[in-house]
Subunit: 388 residues, 2 copies
């Protein structure tokens, strides 16, 4: 990689492939083009509509969508009107989540999808749609449709940067990369800062590659399980989460081991680090649990405890709050005393941007970990001053 | 009641008995005496050790204790060494929770209990112990024992005020009352501001009465289900929660219908209103649920959502966040669209100290509600600056 470029894989918790080249993040994997334009949803001339498309007719793809029962219109369109295994393109907008917008919202999401499909001259079922922003506000579908057509006109192999901008909401900056490893290139664009929750990647994330991926759904879900599903900002599952993987297979090579996992974990950690008001990222590890479910439950209770999150912010190695959260997750059970010999919390008090804490339950051999952000004054400011 | 006294039952959500007299809150129900002294646990000469005792030998009592699996030493002493149905007295301290303090902590809690029993000349099994404060710090048992003996010397029928002070931690003021209704008097003292969570009263609360209560455990649990179990500040179950009811029966009368419930609900609401950093109290009501569990799950998800809690603080009638939280609680299920016709959030934007919001799931007839505090800058300040 170029020494002038900031390393993308910068978290100590990410293990990049042994050899890789970091490309200009505006570049997309070969065979993909993208664009982002401004249609007025976010105001101020900000880029808020994007289209990303694959030139190849044959694409191997997978979609992971939020499980929130109040899922937004674009999620329902993706579930009901798209062929998740053969997605050529996606149309996105930020500034409006098109959630809790009723039947009109559904029609609008469908119209947005159809406009993209028509302009791209592809089957409607091969186009996904994703939206993020305010909940409960009717979508200005005319503006969005105009934006979609404009974006299709402007599609470019180096449109990753504009596309990344088009999906941002409260993000402090774009989250994207283009990585070449061996014969294969992977490019990815993500967004997310609030409503980031355990249980599934709460964000938008689009991944493109020219690798051969024969079982994209399995590959995506496996990589998500160790990345987007391991993060929390505010414990809130969004109505609009979407992750999409597209693979053309044009390189003739399979994905190098660990590449997709490293890309998704680094992007997941960037979402946590850019959590609303966040200043630090914590990693809560639970060991000695009876089983995986128990380990997971305790790790999430610690990661979502506002007392632990404020201790991370206040640089306070408050192991008592970790014991309390663990005990709460195991309410009603018998537990050996959780004293300081079982809890490591020292890094909470460190000055580092990443802090590890751990607790050994002493009940078995299962373990789990969750990444989380701190809870700060700016979280309150952002969320209390944001007005619908 | 005296017109000069501030009404104890001041929440619009509490229905007091039709006729009652509000006594000086320092007064205890007939047959009870209490005291609070300073032993240096909190520093600054603050009252931090208290004893409350019943003069009658025959007492009908009940205890409700936290279910946190990392329960503090006093909780384990109460479970293992006390006769919950015949409690004469309780010894309490604030400033140190005696939680996660190992076997020494257990011995200290037992020693504190035994010191009180000996000084009161009653059976050790008839004395409960409760502690609140910092987790994971060894208890200064010599100071506490000295304080307990001093408190026993100072027991007074009007010691309710000092006792209330002795149990305070981050509380902004004491929470207590003495109410006479018909032939019966009920006095109560509570504390709580942080680690207040759904699932059980997360606090200390002591209730005394001269009413005849033949099944105190049932009566207490029923009243708690509609009061202390319906509140949340930060979603965090404490290691030390304790509620104790003592009834002498000396009045020869039973409790007037609704009196205990009104006292506990008002005290519960005072705990929420005094939640760390709190400025307002919300009441989240869920109707139209398939069953009680579902209604409860959705109500708690709304009440514990940091996005809803910051909207309550920011006076933002953000019904989209209510839909999102409800959808998260019902993740993976099919749900009719949760639009503004199903959600009332207008009072979030009001200037009142109490705000109601509601959501109709449209799936059935079950309902539930939860009271919660807002999430504010002061919550962050209090919890980030608090250092272990």
């Amino acid at each position: 990689m170029s020494p002038a470029t900031r390393t993308f894989f910068r978290s100590r918790w990410v293990e990049p492939p042994p050899e890789f080249e970091q490309l200009d993040p505006a570049e997309l994997a070969p065979g993909f083009r993208a664009a982002g334009v401004a249609c007025g949803l976010k105001g101020g001339g900000e880029t808020d509509v994007g289209v990303l498309a694959c030139d190849a007719e044959e694409v191997s793809s997978a979609l992971a969508l939020t499980r929130n029962a109040a899922a937004a219109a674009p999620i329902r369109v993706c579930r009901q009107e798209c062929d998740a295994a053969a997605l050529r393109a996606v149309a996105v907008n930020s500034g409006n989540a098109n959630a809790a917008t009723g039947e009109q919202g559904y029609r609008d999401a469908l119209a947005m999808r159809d406009a993209a499909a028509e302009a791209l001259n592809v089957e409607p079922r091969t186009v996904a749609v994703a939206e993020t922003g305010t909940i409960g506000v009717p979508l200005d579908i005319d503006a969005v449709t105009t934006g979609v057509l404009e974006a299709v006109q402007g599609l470019s192999a180096s449109g990753g940067e504009d596309f990344s901008q088009a999906i941002m909401t409260t993000d402090s900056g774009p989250k994207r990369c283009a990585i070449r490893a061996g014969e294969v290139t992977v490019s990815a664009q993500a967004k997310g800062a609030g409503m980031i929750e355990p249980g599934f990647a709460t964000m938008l994330c689009f991944v493109q590659t020219d690798a051969v991926v024969s079982d994209p759904d399995k590959v995506l879900r496996s990589a998500l399980a160790d990345s987007m599903e391991r993060i929390t900002v505010d414990g809130q599952m969004s109505t609009n989460d979407t992750v999409m993987l597209q693979a053309t297979g044009a390189s003739g090579s399979v994905l190098p081991k660990g590449l997709l996992e490293a890309v998704l974990l680094q992007l997941a950690l960037e979402i946590v680090a850019d959590g609303e008001g966040a200043t630090r990222v914590g990693r809560a590890e639970v060991t000695g649990a009876k089983n995986g479910d128990e380990a997971e439950r305790v790790a999430r209770a610690i990661a979502n405890s506002p007392l632990v999150k404020t201790a991370l912010f206040g640089r306070d190695s408050n192991w008592g709050r970790i014991a309390q959260a663990a005990g709460m997750a195991l309410a009603g059970e018998e537990l050996e005393e959780l004293g300081p010999d079982r809890i490591r919390a020292g890094e909470l008090a460190s000055e580092g941007a990443e802090a590890e804490l751990s607790i050994n339950l002493g009940r078995g051999k299962a373990r789990a970990h969750v990444y989380f952000s701190d809870l700060t004054h700016d979280y309150i400011r952002i969320n209390a001053e944001y007005t619908t």
